[in-house]
Symmetry: C2
Amino acid sequence: MMVTLKMQTNKENLLSQGVQLLMQQGYHGTGLKEILDAVQIPKGSFYNYFPSKESYAAEVIQYYIAPFIEQLGSHLENSKLDGLTALKTYFDELIVELEQANFKGGCLLGNLMGEIGDTSDLCQQSLRLAVHQYRELLATGLRKAQMEGTVRIDKSADDMADLLVNTWQGALLRMKIEQSADPIKQCCHDLLDDYFSV
Amino acid sequence: MMVTLKMQTNKENLLSQGVQLLMQQGYHGTGLKEILDAVQIPKGSFYNYFPSKESYAAEVIQYYIAPFIEQLGSHLENSKLDGLTALKTYFDELIVELEQANFKGGCLLGNLMGEIGDTSDLCQQSLRLAVHQYRELLATGLRKAQMEGTVRIDKSADDMADLLVNTWQGALLRMKIEQSADPIKQCCHDLLDDYFSV
DNA sequence: AGTTAAGAAACGACCAGTCGTCTTGAGTGT
DNA sequence: ACACTCAAGACGACTGGTCGTTTCTTAACT
């Protein structure tokens, strides 16, 4: 009982630390030793928790996206906000967080899609799953906004959600090299305030 | 005289091979040995051509973007095509190339922005320069299209060029994990055929 | 008693980068 | 036109360190 509990917190620590390090340094740029040192777990123990670095990364991806799904979901369920406002509020929060992080890291999904999205099957699957979940939630919000009359209905919510996800990811890349929040702010403005709007 | 000529072709071979390998495997995922073996240059000679792997990558970035600038530029200078058609034609060509590559690699700029865009100063500078050149050329095309009356004038060509670059990059990431050309096709359609259009 | 995790040590392979030797060809003096 | 000089590129072995992974003994819990 105790042992499995300890194991679970160890595993969570590994995943949590993995989010930080993999996001900032990438997959190949981060060694297991660095992760293990940070959470004070000896190297030999790692393979009690994960079968390989690759499948560890695949789990980190899911661990990373869950809070974003939750955060966006709770905004959409907030009955005080209409769908479009909920989306805008959510992205505004993300922008603040990214500014506080001084534009370091960006998005783990975007970074890993570029680095290993087409070379690691395991991570590709995990990335696809994570992006699809996220995209689906955005589409739900856009559908709600369509019914509320604040978003155009001549484009499908699914297509707009894809466009929003992709533009956001591209804007995050730009943010990293410009060291500025302008690209991500522009992304939200162009799409949410203009293109999607009725 | 001969020696500098040989040096130049060696250097170009290194850059050309670097484009391929860095695009497909990333910066940290590609070892110098792998590059050097591919172009049959011994390890010790590498540092006669480049002071470090990092500055090599920075040069690879410029070597990579040049042909794209040239290709897009020649389309824009083609007097038979209006600006908007030139842009569409250019991106259609890119899509064909990416399909032929089976969606492997994507764009070196996007991949490196995500992986080392905020950790390597040298590469960040090089990436910024490359993206700015590219963005400026797209803006030129969009400005031309505005004057021809095929693109809306209530948004600045610069802003639209940024949006186009960013969305394209995000769509390339999606392409890599979906293993499909749909995201990049959708990107062109949404922006060039719809949002930018009058 | 039996199962499983913890943990240390070590595995071979590979990393970016360096060092000193070898080779080459341009420049100079004749 | 030829021989000599000498800097500069070519080159491969080697550096210390790190990579992901495995092995095996010890310890703890059921």
